[in-house]
């Protein structure tokens, strides 16, 4: 690839951050700002075919006409889109066959984050497609997958090698004009993951990608496309961590899931980006569009644990297009200090006998604001649609807020929709009971929060569940009051 050429200068930054760390990997960064030229340059850099460049340009034109949404229940200083560098890729991209060949500095970073590739390889049998900044650096287990006919690679690779699949499906679930951030992403997406499971194949391992935001002043515009062909099954894990930054970082990802007839996709996310410090400085802006489409008898299940980011704006949704299709959404959103989260889901019932389940648990502590915003829509032809929604909020301290905005629209008489929501706090008697048995208050709270979130944690794959449980504890540290 062009940017692996040696004449590119090394730009080493050796800044030390108080809470985070920063990896010195030579990067290839574009000048700040966004214009048609930048979009074309990104496309050229990635050696994309012409149709892709055109597709990006069209998205950019749409984006220029759009306005940033303001309806979410979050307050933040709007990012200046001309102050962001839209492309940054680690400079060297050797083809690794084993982990030993991976840049030791990168491996060290992952170790500090507690992500051990070796361990995961051995214990979980997970193929890891690490996205460091924007370009995927290491892909393991590719061989095992290839035997089954499963394609799991970076999206830029897919554009080159499987253009027919990408061309057919990209932008079909999240169109370019869907929303402000989706349009932006469509214009400038740097990289992401692509996954195709052929007909009737059950993916033998859990696919996972680790995202990291690493380059100062770099926006991350990931694009993920998962296609499960007829009768196939895949479980996809996505985990995010980021080192600390003083300035706000923007992350606007788009995830598209396509579950064809009888297919099933399970998409799990653990998101732990830098939430900003105790005074609400810094932190990641997470404006993500995630949506899946279910054909006949298909099933899509979203599970998310959101503990990081200063501002979260995220609604993983399911379009239940086919008859008998199923959509699920399980979410835990934890906010502490000055974090703000506006998250939830949309379940669009179009087909007959479609079912959806929504379980959302919001935990607010410190001075944070946590909102659930959801839509359940039953269209007039969706006979026997069934929905169950439950959103529970837990408030810790009296400076935080919990909000629920559930929209329910039914246009079919056979629809059965239930929605319930509760808001409560941790009972003093519960804490007293734990204290009495020698469990200190902080541990007791962790215990109670885990119990509160159990319904969702149970939905996560094993190794993620453990990590998520730890995350909950860490995020709520110091919130006892």
């Amino acid at each position: 690839m062009a940017y692996t050429e040696e004449e590119l200068k090394k730009e080493l930054e050796t800044k030390e951050y108080e809470y985070g760390f920063y990896t010195d990997i030579e990067s290839d960064t574009f000048p700040k700002g966004l214009s048609e030229d930048i979009v074309i340059a990104i496309s050229q850099k990635k050696q994309e075919p012409e149709w892709m460049t055109e597709w990006r340009l069209e998205a950019f034109r749409i984006w220029k006409e759009m306005e940033e949404p303001e309806w979410a229940n979050v307050k933040y200083e709007k990012p200046n889109f001309q102050e962001i560098s839209y492309y940054s890729a680690p400079n060297k991209k050797p083809k690794y066959n084993s982990l030993d060949e991976v840049d030791p500095e990168l491996l060290d970073t992952f170790k500090r984050l507690g992500i051990s590739l070796d361990e995961q390889k051995k214990l979980a049998g997970v193929a890891v497609d690490i996205v460091m900044d924007s370009v995927s650096v290491a892909t393991t287990f590719k061989k095992t997958l290839a035997e089954k006919g499963i394609i799991f690679c970076s999206i830029s690779e897919a554009i080159k090698e499987h253009p027919e699949l990408v061309k057919k499906y990209i932008g079909t679930v999240v169109p370019r004009k869907d929303n402000f951030y989706a349009a932006l992403n469509s214009a400038v997406f740097s990289d992401g993951s692509f996954c195709y499971i052929p007909k009737g194949v059950r993916c033998p391992m859990e696919l996972s990608t680790y995202f990291r935001i690493n380059q100062a002043g770099t926006g991350q515009f990931e694009r993920t496309l998962v296609i499960a062909d007829e009768g196939s099954y895949v479980s996809y894990l996505e985990g995010c961590t980021a080192p600390s930054r003083d300035e706000n970082q923007l992350h606007a990802a788009v995830v598209e899931l396509i579950a064809l007839d009888d297919a099933e996709i399970k998409y799990s996310t653990v998101q732990n980006w830098f939430p900003g410090d105790k005074d609400g400085n810094g932190g990641v802006f997470n404006f993500v569009t995630k949506r899946g489409i279910c054909e006949t008898n298909a099933k899509i299940s979203w599970t998310q644990v959101e503990t990081g980011s200063a501002v979260t704006w995220k609604y993983p949704s399911c379009v239940l297009k086919g008859d008998n299709s199923i959509g699920e959404f399980y979410s835990i959103a934890v906010t502490n200090n000055f974090q703000q989260a506006d998250t939830g889901t949309k379940m669009i019932h179009l087909g007959k006998n479609t079912k959806s389940t929504i379980i959302s648990k919001g935990i607010s502590a410190g001075q944070s604001q946590n909102s659930y915003r959801g839509l359940v829509q039953v269209n007039s032809r969706a006979e026997n649609a069934r929905n169950f929604s439950q959103c529970d909020s837990l408030l810790m301290g009296n400076k935080c807020g919990a909000h629920t905005f559930p929209y329910i629209e039914a246009k079919n008489k056979s629809a059965q929709i239930e929605h319930e929501a509760t808001t409560s706090k941790i009972g003093e008697d519960q804490i007293f009971y734990c204290n009495q048995r020698g469990i200190d208050t902080e541990k007791a709270i962790a215990l109670i929060v885990n119990g509160f979130s159990k319904e969702v944690l149970n939905k996560l794959p094993m190794e993620f569940a453990v990590e998520a449980q730890k995350l909950l504890e860490i995020s709520l540290e110091g919130s006892v009051g």
Binding site: S380, G401, T404, F405, P406, Y407, I408, S414, H419, A421
Partner: protein, 438 residues
């Protein structure tokens, strides 16, 4: 000329007929400015997402009645709750009808806003209460404020209760092709006072009527107010009902809204709890058919600790009707120990009917118990079969189940005759005779 411009120019004419020097008029001028700036709400606004006023704005409404109209009591008796003795405040095309009304000044004041605005003895109360809880920036409320001249004025002094319930009835004669009415009511229940009010809007012909009503209710310490809204108007009448309620310590206010008739109804029901141990109840039954549209927008603002609110709205939607429920509960940071409950259950009878519901919680205090539940479903097939197997025809069986569905709301109605009347309307709406009183 669209309705907004017409209203703005009518305001100039309106000013010729009112006392321009009174402090009330300052409030009116302020309000018209706000309406001029905001205009009618559009569907782009979150609060009006599901309800459009476009069709109303296209109608050429006459804003002031051209002539005084009279009605014969025997023709309109059925619209009154005539089984029991009540005080009555009756308006015909927005004009007070003294011979149909029965007002009083015996210990309590049950009279007119126009009197309260003009007589010096009420000056202090008007200054203290008028437009104090009603929104100063919601456009339709300010439109009403601008044209506020007539309506019901009810003042219950400390430790008093009127001898009988009070009926407020607005008739539209239909002598004009299209009529716009803007009644303004003020209800004050002082410390430990009690009052029961029944309100009804009735259009007597198929001519178009648009009512934009504002009611302000003040419940002082230990006061007890019951308010029943009977919305069973002709299918050509539209109503925007804005009700604002301010409650002090230990007061209890219950508002029941029964919506069966009308073309388009929008209820904005707002409770502000400004004292401790306040109890607010909001209940409603909605049964619709044809192309009717009813939108319930409720707000309960818990601003003080130890308060309660109970909301229960049931809706049955047939044919091409649309139901909207938007219930908002706000719990302020200091409002600890709040118990706020909200329930919204709906039944869809037709594939062309629509329900949009949005139960919304905004909570800033941690020691609270708040819950909301919302369901959309249909009648239980098994229950229906059970009744049919016992010889009850399907239509009656369906009606029985619907009664049962709506009954929770009726249980808390404290005037038996109102309950009976509502049951009768439900039976008529459903087109059945169940053969016994429920």
């Amino acid at each position: 000329m669209d309705l907004k411009d017409k209203l703005l120019s009518s305001f100039i004419a309106f000013e010729n007929n009112v006392d321009l020097d009174s402090p009330v008029h300052e409030v009116r001028s302020e309000a018209i400015k706000n309406f001029e700036a905001k205009g009618f709400p559009s569907k782009k606004e979150e609060a009006w997402k599901y309800t459009s006023l476009n069709s109303i704005q296209k109608v050429d409404f006459s804003v002031f009645p051209k002539q005084e109209n009279t009605l014969d009591y025997k023709d309109i008796k059925k619209y009154f709750l005539h089984e029991i003795d009540t005080y009555k405040i009756v308006f015909i095309d927005g004009v007070y009808s003294s011979y149909l009304s029965e007002t009083t000044h015996d210990g309590v004041d049950v009279c007119l806003m126009s009197a309260a605005f003009s007589k010096p003895m009420y000056k202090q109360i008007i200054e203290l209460y008028f437009n104090k809880v009603a929104s100063k920036d919601e456009s339709l409320t300010t439109l009403n404020t601008a044209f506020s001249r007539e309506g019901a004025y009810i003042y219950i002094p400390k430790n008093k209760a009127p001898r009988k319930p009070i009926q407020i009835v607005h008739f539209a004669t239909g002598n004009e092709a299209a009529m716009m009415l803007q009644p303004r009511n003020l209800i004050i229940a002082e410390e430990n006072a009690e009052v029961q009010i029944i309100e009804r809007h009735q259009s007597l012909t198929g001519n178009e009527v648009f009512t934009n009503s504002v009611t302000e209710i003040f419940a002082a310490k230990d006061a007890n107010v019951d308010y029943y809204k009977v919305q069973n108007d002709a299918k050509t009448a539209s109503l925007v009902d804005n009700t604002y309620i301010a409650q002090k310590d230990n007061s209890v206010v219950r508002v029941h809204t029964f919506s069966f008739g009308g073309k388009l109804i929008r209820n904005n029901l707002n409770f502000y709890q400004n004292g401790q141990h306040v109890d607010s109840t909001l209940k409603g039954v909605t049964i619709l058919g044809e192309k009717q549209h009813v939108d319930h927008h409720t707000l309960v603002h818990h601003a003080q600790p130890n308060c309660e609110s109970h909301q229960d709205y049931k809706g049955i939607f047939g044919e091409k009707s649309t139901g909207v429920f938007n219930g908002k509960i706000i719990v302020d940071q200091i409002a600890q120990k709040t118990n706020a409950f909200q329930q919204n259950n709906n039944i869809l009878l037709s594939d062309k009917a629509t329900i949009n519901t949005k139960p919304q919680l905004e909570i800033f205090a941690d020691d609270v118990k708040c819950s909301h539940g919302c369901t959309i479903g249909q009648l239980d097939e098994d229950a229906l079969f059970y009744l049919q197997s016992r010889g009850i025809p399907k239509k009656e069986a369906t009606a029985l189940l619907m009664y049962a569905f709506a009954n929770n709301v009726l249980e808390s109605v404290r005037i038996p005759e109102v309950k009976k009347r509502i049951n009768k309307i439900i039976a008529t709406t459903l087109g059945v005779r169940v053969g016994f009183d429920l």
